[in-house]
């Protein structure tokens, strides 16, 4: 059973990275994905914040799953998630005020990020703690890399830099649209479309449940 368990764990982790990537495959958590990714740094920060919340929430949910009656399941989860989001928010404001300012009201909106409730509901509430943890980690990392990718592309074209480092020379005229809402939608649309094109798969039409 032991080797099997390991296989399952790594699978739990890997699937969030690619096969069930929340952004690219499941089109979940779109608000932060689009709103904060005008730079790679912001994408990273949002990714980390979300990863923190999803891991904490999933773990706690998995621990207390047998205690919670079904009827108040969602409500309890929501409280737990909101609490962790508050913690993350306070932490950012205390330690990284500039990032906190850049992410603005999108940090609290992690509460309604479907990924978190979705993982708590669909996975953590049904599986043991270690698996829930790994699953959440996978999802968080998957979410983060998608955000960083999006943020990098937008930052590169919009400012000529990535993570604040100038990449493009002086000849480069920044495409301001990439930092605007329109650019966010278009870039993500193209990324998902191209990934589908090359992997020959299609995005599942989902919406938050």
């Amino acid at each position: 059973m032991a080797p099997d368990g390991e296989v399952t764990l790594s699978k739990d982790f890997i699937k969030g990275l690619w096969k069930e990537n929340p952004v690219i495959r499941q089109i979940l958590g779109m608000c932060p994905t689009l709103a904060v990714t005008n730079s790679a740094t912001n994408g990273l920060a949002m990714g980390l914040a979300t990863t923190f919340v999803v891991i904490s929430a999933s773990t706690i949910v998995s621990i207390i799953k047998s205690l919670v009656p079904r009827q108040v399941r969602i409500a309890t989860y929501v409280i737990i998630i909101a609490s962790f989001v508050t913690i993350a928010d306070l932490f950012l404001a205390a330690k990284f005020p500039s990032i906190s300012k850049a992410l603005g009201p999108y940090v609290p909106l992690i509460v309604v990020n479907c990924i978190i409730l979705g993982r708590a509901e669909a996975f953590a509430s049904k599986h043991p703690v270690h698996r829930a943890f790994i699953d959440a980690l996978g999802m968080g990392v998957g979410f983060s890399w998608a955000l960083i990718l999006l943020g990098s592309i937008r930052e590169l074209l919009g400012f000529g830099s990535i993570f604040g480092f100038k990449i493009m020379g002086a000849w480069f005229t920044p495409w301001i649209i990439m930092i605007l809402p329109g650019g966010a939608f278009i870039t993500l649309g193209i990324i998902i479309g191209l990934i589908n094109q090359f992997t020959g798969s299609r995005t599942v039409d989902t919406s938050c449940h």
């Binding site: 608000c31 689009l34 609290p108 605007l180 809402p181 649309g189 479309g193 919406s207 938050c208």
Partner: protein
């Protein structure tokens, strides 16, 4: 005058979906048919207006009074979740027909970030009660507008020859981007 400006600003100029990226999930998920989009939009508008009112009350009379601002998120999300369920129950009781039309969308609204976003924005902008409600209404109308326009376009997509890999979410995102580009025409409309 201020009130009208808040309304137009929330509905058109600073459209929640197209400039703040709020409510993207339902925007992508429930915009396949104009009729459903309209119903969803109306349900959301209703909940938004109600939320704006109630969260204002909670913020002013509980959070600020007891000096517990850190409970803001917890309080708001629970308020919204309960509100949606109450509305659902209420509609089911009062008008079964309306429930059939709107009911299926109600659970979706809970996790609509536009609603929580609305509550947070209203606090952030220090709106008073009336302003909050108008802001909620405007945001709801703006959400409905974007949703219905998108649904109209997506109905047309049925007949189109979109590349296979761009069908579904990618093309919807691209259209949203184009809509956002078009809505940029309204930029600066209210500040001159």
């Amino acid at each position: 005058m201020e009130i009208i400006l808040i309304f137009i600003s929330a509905a058109i100029v600073n459209n929640f979906v197209l400039t703040y990226f709020l409510g993207i999930c339902p925007f992508i998920g429930v915009s396949k048919k104009v009729e459903t989009a309209l119903n969803m939009g109306m349900a959301t508008t209703f909940v938004m207006t109600l939320t704006a009112a109630i969260t204002w009350l909670i913020n002013t009379y509980i959070l600020i009074k007891f000096n517990v601002p850190f409970l803001e998120y917890v309080a708001f999300i629970i308020t919204i979740a309960s509100l949606v369920q109450l509305v659902e129950m209420f509609i089911r009781k009062v008008s079964p027909a309306l429930f059939r039309a709107l009911g299926i969308f109600l659970p979706l609204i809970t996790t609509n970030c536009a609603i929580l976003g609305l509550a947070l924005f209203a606090v952030l902008r220090e709106y008073n009660f009336i302003e909050s409600v108008v802001f909620g209404l405007g945001a709801g109308v703006g959400f409905t507008l974007a949703l219905v326009i998108m649904a109209g376009i997506r109905e047309e997509l049925e007949f189109m020859d979109v590349p296979e890999s761009f069908k579904g979410a990618p093309i919807t995102l691209l259209i949203a981007g184009m809509l956002a580009l078009s809505f940029m025409g309204f930029a600066g409309l209210l500040s001159v």
